[in-house]
């Protein structure tokens, strides 16, 4: 059981955590993973998610790979130290911390989980003599700043979109101050696989907008659609690009590195491009009115479903509308050294979009209902 390197991975029941688990199982044959998850999860269901991702990634012997992973119960806050004997028995050498609260609106939970849990895990890692602590942060942890976002720790910004970015920034600092060697990874917005569009995450980021349109604007046909569509480029990365960059960063970067896992600006589409891509595929309004600024939208005058969508997505839309500019020297070096990083272009994003459309009963119904109208419109 002790052969190979032990890695403690948090957040394995979530989207990126499960992708990291499969990446390590596929790319690091001598790694064994101990994955604490909150009580209430069905380990078989979690394994099934990992298995299908392994198979989709071309694994020939997924069962053998999964034998290198063990789920364990995550103790309650304040008692993480209870894991210490298990860490020692498992031979844990590294921690990858991917559990987090992503609820923008729950300030207490953001603080408790993103900062508190990270602090506790750092203490545990210290006691266990862990060699390195990898922290999955976010590209937006800088908060709103007017300069290019570097691959260093952030100072205090002028403001934060939400407490989510603030608490992720604070957690990064705790990691860097811990005295344990660290790697901080900062992905931007992760979307489905560049090849087949598969996506097992929640409705975050772009998926929030897509599923919002699916639920609100696909019940009836809208002749005119009012869209908040700033001309800013939107920074998206595919899950396979994330996985490749994760593995390369984990294997190659020196201790105490910070990696911005972001899209090349030149390839990134604008929010408007994404609206056009979706509306041409699904809603096909006669007219679309684009707005550069949220404040320009006549909220009270637009149809209720469009108004509701705008409000629901408003916080993410505001974030997307900000001109984020990232350094990606670290990633560019990894790419130059041979890492494959499929950029999210309009064509590959369309693959993800089509996957969602193909799986949506609501969209299928909508398109069938308006088949004639759309056929006539050409």
């Amino acid at each position: 059981m002790r052969a190979g390197r032990g890695v403690l991975l948090t957040g394995a029941s979530g989207y990126l955590g499960s992708l990291i688990a499969t990446t390590l199982l596929l790319g690091e044959p001598d790694v064994r993973i101990l994955a604490p998850v909150r009580p209430g999860h069905d380990p078989l269901a979690l394994l099934a998610t990992l298995r299908s991702e392994l198979i989709a990634s071309g694994a020939v012997a997924p069962e053998a790979m999964l034998e290198r992973l063990s789920f364990t119960a995550l103790p309650a806050f304040g008692s993480l130290a209870a894991l210490l004997p298990e860490l020692a028995a498992f031979g844990i050498e590294e921690v990858v911390h991917c559990a987090a609260c992503l609820d923008y609106f729950d300030e207490a939970a953001l603080q408790a989980i993103n900062v508190g849990l990270t602090e506790e895990l750092l203490a545990l890692a210290g006691s266990a003599g862990v060699r390195r602590f990898t922290y999955v942060s976010t590209a937006f942890s800088s908060g709103y700043v007017d300069h290019r976002i570097g691959e260093t720790l952030h100072g205090d910004p002028e403001g934060d979109p939400t407490d989510y970015t603030k608490t992720k920034r604070l957690a990064e600092r705790r990691v860097a101050e811990s005295g344990i060697a660290y790697l901080i990874l900062r992905p931007s917005i992760v979307i489905g696989h560049s090849g087949d569009g598969r996506y097992s995450g929640k409705r975050y980021g772009l998926y929030q907008l897509w599923s919002g349109i699916e639920r609100l604007l696909c019940r009836e046909w809208h002749e005119t659609i009012h869209a908040f569509a700033p001309r800013e480029r939107i920074n998206l990365i595919h899950q396979d690009a994330f996985q490749n960059a994760f593995l390369a960063g984990w294997q190659q970067l020196p201790d105490n590195s910070i990696l911005n896992m972001v899209a090349a600006e030149a390839c990134a589409p604008t929010v408007r491009d994404l609206w056009v891509l979706w509306l041409e595929a699904v809603n096909r309004p006669r007219q679309t009115v684009f707005y550069d600024r949220m404040a320009d939208i006549p909220s009270r005058a637009i149809p209720p479903p469009q108004r509701a969508l705008l409000a629901l997505a408003s916080v993410n839309l505001e974030i997307i509308g900000h001109p984020w500019r990232f350094d990606r020297a670290g990633l560019d070096r990894l790419i130059a050294a041979g890492v494959t990083f499929p950029e999210a272009t309009l064509a590959t994003i369309e693959i993800c979009q089509n996957r969602l459309i193909d799986q949506s009963a609501a969209i299928e119904k909508f398109l069938a209902k308006h088949e004639q109208r759309f056929a006539l419109a050409g």
Binding site: L102, D103, Y104, F105, D106, T138, A139, F140, Y164, P187, S188, I189, V190, Y199, S200, G201, K202, R203, Y204, G205, Y207, Q208, L209, S211, G212, R215, L216, R219, M294, A295, S299, R300, P304, P305, R307, A308, L309, L310, A311, L312, A313, S314, V315, N316, I319, L356, Q359, A361
Partner: protein, 310 residues
């Protein structure tokens, strides 16, 4: 004051005799939960009388409480007419939670918060419910008739609340905005939970088998109700507040469903009635629970799932 969709099989209105047991179980469920909402409304209005600034406003508030009493009587009578068992007490826990928040606002003498909870939020959801029940093509004529009568009062209550809040907004906008944010984060999750989460005890109390409420008797699905509820709530807020104030509040509603996956397996069904029933019911039938209903996982999340982004 709960919402559900009650309906004949797709098609035109049918006489009551054409409605099946599933339909009447559903109506019993919805009416019982509506009565619970009305009981809460009586208690809320009665508790806030002393906060009303003028004698005229106190009288009006007592009259509103009285109208809520009438609604309970009307709904009880409807139960007898249709020969369905209805509960005349609060069963689902969300109502008690909302009551507690309301009492807390009263204790702080926070009149804007009281008006927002009762007159804006609860009445908006009551309007959604009674509008759905009053749609003649979807329910039996007696239910539709009673719902239409109550709907008229609830629309009035909403307007009275709005007028009072407009005055308070003119005097102290910051206090009203604070009250809105406070009430929104506490009350709206409870109200929306009732359009999707399990009915904790009510089906048991009524002796209803959740699984018996079949798809055939339901037309307006839960997802649609949630969307309509959201739209109506946004409309109510827009009539009083600047979108700059309300947008972030509404954005937080995308988090209400917790963490559901993007492509859940709709067919697997949802565990109806929480801990009560271990049986899994098909997705469609799952609409039995909740103040109306309980959606299958695929239907459960209102609009955009939320929150997180990166």
């Amino acid at each position: 004051m709960n919402m559900t969709s009650v309906a004949a099989a797709p098609g035109a209105a049918e006489p009551p005799s054409a409605f099946d047991t599933g339909y009447y179980d559903l109506i019993a469920y919805v009416v019982s939960n509506a009565i619970a909402g009305e009981i809460m409304a009586i208690e809320n209005y009665s508790e806030m009388v002393h906060l009303m600034p003028t004698t005229q406003a106190k009288i009006e508030t007592v009259m509103q409480a009285n109208e809520e009493c009438k609604h309970i009587l009307l709904l009880s009578k409807l139960g007898r007419t249709l020969d369905i068992g209805v509960q005349r007490r609060i069963v689902e826990p969300q109502w008690n939670t909302i009551r507690k928040h309301f009492s807390n606002a009263v204790a702080r003498r926070d009149l804007p918060a009281c008006l927002i909870i009762q007159d804006l939020m609860t009445e908006t959801m009551a309007i959604l419910l009674y509008r759905t029940l009053a749609a003649e093509a979807e329910t039996d004529p007696r239910t539709a008739q009673v719902a239409a009568a109550i709907l008229k009062d609830e629309l009035e209550h909403l307007e009275i609340g709005k007028a009072r809040l407009r005055e308070l907004l003119a005097a102290d906008p910051a206090a009203v905005h604070d009250a809105l944010a406070w009430a929104h984060h506490r009350v709206m999750p409870e109200l929306f939970a009732m359009i999707s989460t399990s009915c904790h005890f009510l089906c048991d109390d009524l002796g209803i088998d959740c699984g018996s409420l079949s798809l055939g008797s339901i037309r307006t699905d839960i997802e649609q109700l949630r969307v309509r509820g959201l739209e109506l709530y946004v409309e109510t807020l827009d009539s009083l507040f600047d979108p700059k104030i309300t947008n972030p509040l509404i954005a937080s509603m995308s988090a209400y469903e917790g963490a559901s996956n993007m492509f859940p397996q709709a067919a697997s069904g949802a565990a109806c009635c929480g801990s009560q029933a271990a049986n899994r019911v098909p997705a469609a039938a799952a609409s039995c629970c909740g103040p109306a209903a309980k959606a299958a996982p695929a239907e459960a999340a209102c609009c955009a799932q939320t929150a997180g982004q990166a």
